[in-house]
Symmetry: D2
Subunit: 119 residues, 4 copies
Amino acid sequence: MKTFNAQLAEVEKGKVTITCEFSESLTQHHGFFHAGVITSLADNACGFAALTMMPENAEVLSVEFKINFVKPAKTDKLIAIGKVLQSGKTLTICEGYVYDSTKEKLIAKMQATMIAVYQ
Amino acid sequence: MKTFNAQLAEVEKGKVTITCEFSESLTQHHGFFHAGVITSLADNACGFAALTMMPENAEVLSVEFKINFVKPAKTDKLIAIGKVLQSGKTLTICEGYVYDSTKEKLIAKMQATMIAVYQ
Amino acid sequence: MKTFNAQLAEVEKGKVTITCEFSESLTQHHGFFHAGVITSLADNACGFAALTMMPENAEVLSVEFKINFVKPAKTDKLIAIGKVLQSGKTLTICEGYVYDSTKEKLIAKMQATMIAVYQ
Amino acid sequence: MKTFNAQLAEVEKGKVTITCEFSESLTQHHGFFHAGVITSLADNACGFAALTMMPENAEVLSVEFKINFVKPAKTDKLIAIGKVLQSGKTLTICEGYVYDSTKEKLIAKMQATMIAVYQ
């Protein structure tokens, strides 16, 4: 989040939005947002969304995720939305959507499994 | 690669190794390597590995990948290995392994689909 | 489809619904629908949905999919819905949802990559 | 297993082999083994492999899996191998390989997350 200068834009129970402004350091060789940035935003949005459903003393870890890259990330801002599909005591299943700045073009879609850890 | 200061350590037909030294900017809140860094390294290793099997004028794009996080990334160097499982004219299926600096602890495992694009 | 006695219930452009009535031969050891049946229905629904977006002479093949099992499949009928998320010339990305007979309980969620083949 | 007439061929700690003979009822429209059969075998092999690492009173459930279809399943017998990549108290990460009868052609590759349940 810090490295990308990403912003937590909206938080509600089971749904979180993160935005990330374009910067040269976040691009791949065509000058678009790098897949790693897109993936991290989606993963973070899913993780935070899962956390909104967990007890206060829980932390969240990504067990695994799968992401499809749908369209080139040619935009000046990424909008990542994480949504909880199913929350259980241990595992939470989330979906992540990464859109361009207009929120009309879907750039990537994630399906993730998160785990609550108590330390 | 540039942002992470990652190094292309080894390249052979169907197999690529990338390394990445620890740096404060690549960590999450526990001080370990961030999942986004681990994922990007695995994705890049898979992409390069796929590229070694493609015609010279091809570029490679990630269609999708799935990654499991196996162990905490508590190490001073990540070693990411991408291997081609099956290469076709259009699609190439790869596996990515991310190890700690000793190459004995598996930190993450990826299974990825890459596509050759001609521009 | 034949083995499962599944029915193609609804077909529209980019969306297909398949249903499957309970039968003893489709169960696992707890007497619920087997994960393999759930997965096949979701895969078939995604494949047919992708096919509705492809040229007439195209066939569809599953490149890969990922499925999360959300709730136990304790129901007398499965309703599987496949939706196209993004359709391209070669690849089509789909989502599959498997519900119980009330269509209120989500049993499984799939994210799939389909390819058009011309023979 | 019963429906497919599959056989548990080998079981060792962390690795399980299942075989399945060709039968008309297990085919898709080209006369090859159906993707659903391939997937179920891989899932079962992964599940059993995970079970060999769990306490005696544990049962195993598939949390999720991802499978890539690598080659057409044109063979008279499928050989599915499940291997444990990492086993933890709650979750076990497995890999599944489905080969043809010669064990030389890789037909599909799975990466799966299993969970131990105590009832």
